[in-house]
């Protein structure tokens, strides 16, 4: 796919006013993976699917606030859903932030070919709000990587400061999408993840075992998480 055709109606700040018809600029997309370009494209079938997801969230009154996006197992496409949903919500005029909360395995920055020098963890010690440690990838869509992490950084999830940092981000954004680790880890730190508005569970249409998905859905509800619903990713 030609990167210049990739972004559909989502605009990045660099070329928002350039008359480029809402397509991503090549410079802005430099270093982005093909995957990321496709996901952030709102004109494709994929983009329409994310737009439908955003609409459905809005229809059930969940299109604002903080949303934890998790999955029963790794590799189901939680990050993809975060970015795609973020782009769809941004295209509908909402100010969106996508935050990588995978403190053990950060990967959001890789989608944009960026180093993980600053991000969520920087906001704990640095000056200024969490907002200032992210970067814009499209109009109204800001991405915040984890920032520098060390082995055992997951322990930060027990830190009230981290909750505060994300909640502060909510003051500046209509929607904050938290790219969370797998459900098992979310259940291990319920105080942290339970501090946000709700949970969206991502399952993969050809990878997620049904029994595992059902077990984790039950576990989330048993733990009184506000499960908004499920996203079926990779449907053939």
């Amino acid at each position: 796919m030609n990167p210049e055709q990739g972004a559909g109606n989502v605009r990045v700040p660099d070329d928002a006013g350039s008359g480029a018809g809402g397509n991503l600029g090549v410079m802005a997309a430099e270093g982005w993976s093909e995957h990321t370009r496709l996901v952030l494209s709102s004109g494709s079938e994929l983009g329409r699917s994310f737009a439908a997801l955003a609409e459905n969230l809005g229809a059930v009154g969940r299109s604002a606030g903080s949303l934890v996006v998790t999955s029963p197992e790794s590799g189901t496409g939680g990050t993809t859903v975060c970015l795609g949903l973020g782009a769809a919500l941004a295209a509908s005029g909402k100010r969106v932030a996508v935050v990588d909360c995978n403190l053990d395995r950060p990967h959001l920055h890789r989608s944009f070919g960026r180093p993980n020098f600053t991000g969520l963890t920087s906001a704990l010690d640095g000056v200024g709000g969490a907002e200032s440690y992210g970067f814009d990838v499209a109009w109204n869509l800001r991405v915040m990587p984890t920032g520098p992490v060390l082995p055992g950084s997951w322990a930060l999830l027990n830190s009230p400061k981290l909750i505060g940092a994300i909640q502060a981000l909510e003051e500046q954004r209509d929607v904050v999408l938290l790219d969370a680790p797998v459900v098992g880890e979310v259940l291990a730190t319920p105080n942290f993840w339970g501090s946000f508005n709700g949970v969206l569970l991502v399952i993969h249409a050809t990878r997620t075992p049904k029994g595992v998905a059902r077990g984790f859905t039950d576990a989330l509800l048993d733990a009184r998480f506000n499960l908004f619903g499920v996203v079926l990713n990779g449907h053939v």
């Binding site: 796919m1 995957h35 994929l46 994310f50 909750i163 909640q167 709700g198 990713n233 990779g234 449907h235």
Partner: protein, 275 residues
């Protein structure tokens, strides 16, 4: 941490706790009906969905069990049961009724009964073992209204009637021989064949219909159980309805597989499996 940041953080802490309290309330109020449902039990719709999705497996299992049952039924010998009725009564006035029952019970337990069986087997021309003859013979425990119904089961109607009649005749002969010797001569017993057994017209092994029925139901249960087991381990989701029924949660979005659209992947899995 710079002092300026600390100053900003301090008032926020109180507000955060209030905010969290409000959010707890919001979460409770937003608790949806589907989230409150009892989720432990398998519902009929879920089971029906799984069985329908794996109908080939369930049907195959049922057909296999039925085939085994039919083969078993065909390989079994047919069973015909004939019944002979004996009239057994005590001479009136000689002994009380209780003594009569005691005598019959004693007769049945005695070695004489085994002699009657052996005699009957010989008389019927039974070629198989005596134990086999005994197994096919059915003699009730007590005399009902002075009647003793003797049943014999065999592969052919004629053999069944012959076995039952042989036993009845030998029994009568044996009781005649014992006349006057039972209970020290206190009891006199008369026995006669009231109704001889006739070759039955129909087979008596009703289980030949029951076995396929049980096999069919068993196959359905085994196939269903297998289907549920496989469904729990399956990784293939057919669509949003499948996901909703399996997870009992609303599916808010279905994202298509776009691996075919990717020319290359830059350190990221190519089919939407990132993260």
């Amino acid at each position: 941490m710079p002092p300026s940041t600390r100053r900003r953080d301090r008032p926020r802490t109180n507000r955060q706790s209030q905010w969290q309290g409000q959010r707890q309330g919001q979460r409770q109020s937003r608790w949806q009906g589907w989230q409150r449902e009892q989720r432990d039990d398998l519902t009929l719709s879920e089971a029906g969905h799984v069985l329908w999705e794996r109908r080939a497996l369930v049907t195959g299992c049922m057909i296999f069990f039925l085939a085994v049952a039919v083969f078993y039924g065909l390989s079994r010998e047919p069973v015909y049961t004939a019944e002979a009725t004996l009239s057994v009564r005590s001479e009136e006035g000689i002994a009380p009724a209780g003594s009569f029952d005691e005598v019959l019970s004693g007769l049945r337990d005695s070695a004489a009964m085994q002699e009657i069986r052996e005699g009957a087997s010989e008389k019927a021309g039974w070629e198989a073992s005596q134990a086999d003859f005994n197994e096919r013979l059915e003699v009730p425990e007590g005399v009902n209204n002075e009647e003793l119904k003797v049943r014999f089961s065999a592969p052919t109607p004629e053999e069944a009637a012959r076995g039952a009649n042989a036993y009845a005749e030998v029994f009568v002969e044996r009781v005649g021989e014992l006349e006057g010797r039972l209970a020290g001569g206190a009891v006199a017993v008369n026995a006669s064949v009231e109704k001889a057994a006739e070759p039955p017209e129909r087979r008596s092994d009703r289980r030949r219909f029951l076995v396929p029925l049980v096999a069919g139901v068993g196959g359905l249960l085994v196939g269903g159980g297998w289907a549920l087991f496989l469904e729990g381990r399956a990784r293939q989701w057919s669509g949003s309805r499948d996901a909703e029924l399996t997870l009992r949660a609303p599916v808010l979005g279905v994202i298509p597989d776009f691996s075919g659209n990717l020319v290359s992947s830059n350190g990221v899995s190519s089919d939407g499996g990132e993260g």
